[in-house]
Assembly symmetry: C2
DNA sequence: ACAGCCATGTAACTTGTTACATGATTTT
DNA sequence: AAAATCATGTAACAAGTTACATGGCTGT
């Protein structure tokens, strides 16, 4: 929902046309998240369908301006006043993958953890390097970009901490691997064994 | 992709039928992530369409067993050997929302941050309470659940750290708010001002 | 003239998700 | 007999994403 809501929030500041919206999103997120132009138009149509924005007539340059409706403004207010509940609905892809992998017999869990830690560590270093080069952060755009980078750095650090933590915990326990077919039919022939 | 890939990986251990797959996913993720049963069947059909699984005949109980194809096994191996690149493609909804909010004139950024910090803090406390109750973590299932909870705790901590960090950074800078319409047409009348 | 960008759109597709229908079986 | 659970499915939708088509204008 972040693209949809962000575009609506920007539009709530005043009418914009497609490419302008894209540039605004780009500016405000420090160009951290690439956004395909086509998605702007899709999203605008969906917002229009939901009564949150209205499409205006094209001006002399052919720019089609879109404006938030009062319903759209209300939705923006609601978005801003309600916190985002992470972990409710949003799945942690990395944790799911590693825990599922850890419970699968015959999987080299250590290799999976190692590959992930290497990649996450490299990424963290990249992010820190990137952060160091924009240390100034004079303009609002630079500040926005820096905040985004910081968010990614904090997330990467948490990821690495969890990787260490999880591997320790797994090492401390015997075989967390789980065989298949613990589920058995209430009645009838026993469930077939894993291959 | 986590549901799709997890189901495929479980199936790679041996043939399963729909409800069994759901139970396996549930078990292996410590019942942290609810999974609608219908989604199992959707996902299986899509995996079949992509040639990664094959549907077997129903047995006497009417259980329809599905099995991974060799392509499916290869895909699982690929999944396990390649790390997940967070931040590439996966958008940070919270960071986007707060940074966009911070760049919008007329928004009470402090209130947005406060609401988020309150919610994130409460969630962190809930998670810590939950972690304390299963301190034992004897069975593999409990261990899996504990690892998931830990992942969420680490993420929530990172979130709170970033919130503090970002608010400090914003406080240290003047008005990071960005007016609309910095984009101007190459030619023609100037772009309309924000409302 | 030609390459490239600005600008608007369209069509298709992915994964995730829910609501619902149906029937068999099991428990109370 | 009624309620709950197991089990398989179907239909629809949301949000994100990409690839492509089209046209106008611009700079070389």
């Amino acid at each position: 929902m972040s693209v949809r809501q962000s575009l609506l929030a920007i539009l709530d500041q005043g009418p914009c046309y497609g490419h302008q919206l894209r540039a605004e999103f780009d500016r405000r997120t420090g160009s951290t998240w690439p956004l395909n132009v086509g998605q702007i138009y899709n999203t605008l149509e969906r917002l229009e369908r939901d009564g949150l924005v209205e499409r205006g007539d094209a001006d002399e340059q052919g720019h089609v301006y879109w404006a938030a409706t009062s319903e759209g403004s209300a939705e923006v207010a609601r978005w801003l006043s309600h916190p985002i509940e992470r972990g409710t609905g949003a799945r942690d892809e990395l944790a799911i993958k590693l825990v599922v992998a850890a419970t699968l017999p015959g999987v080299d869990v250590a290799a999976v953890f190692l590959a992930q830690r290497t990649a996450s560590g490299a990424r963290l270093q990249e992010l820190r390097d990137a952060a160091a080069t924009v240390a100034g952060a004079g303009s609002p755009e630079e500040l926005a970009g820096r905040l985004m980078t910081d968010a990614l750095i904090f997330a990467a650090e948490a990821e690495l901490r969890w990787l260490d933590h999880a591997e320790q915990r797994l090492a401390a326990h015997p075989g967390p691997a789980l065989e298949l077919s613990t589920l058995r039919p209430k009645r009838g022939r026993p469930m077939r064994a894993a291959v």
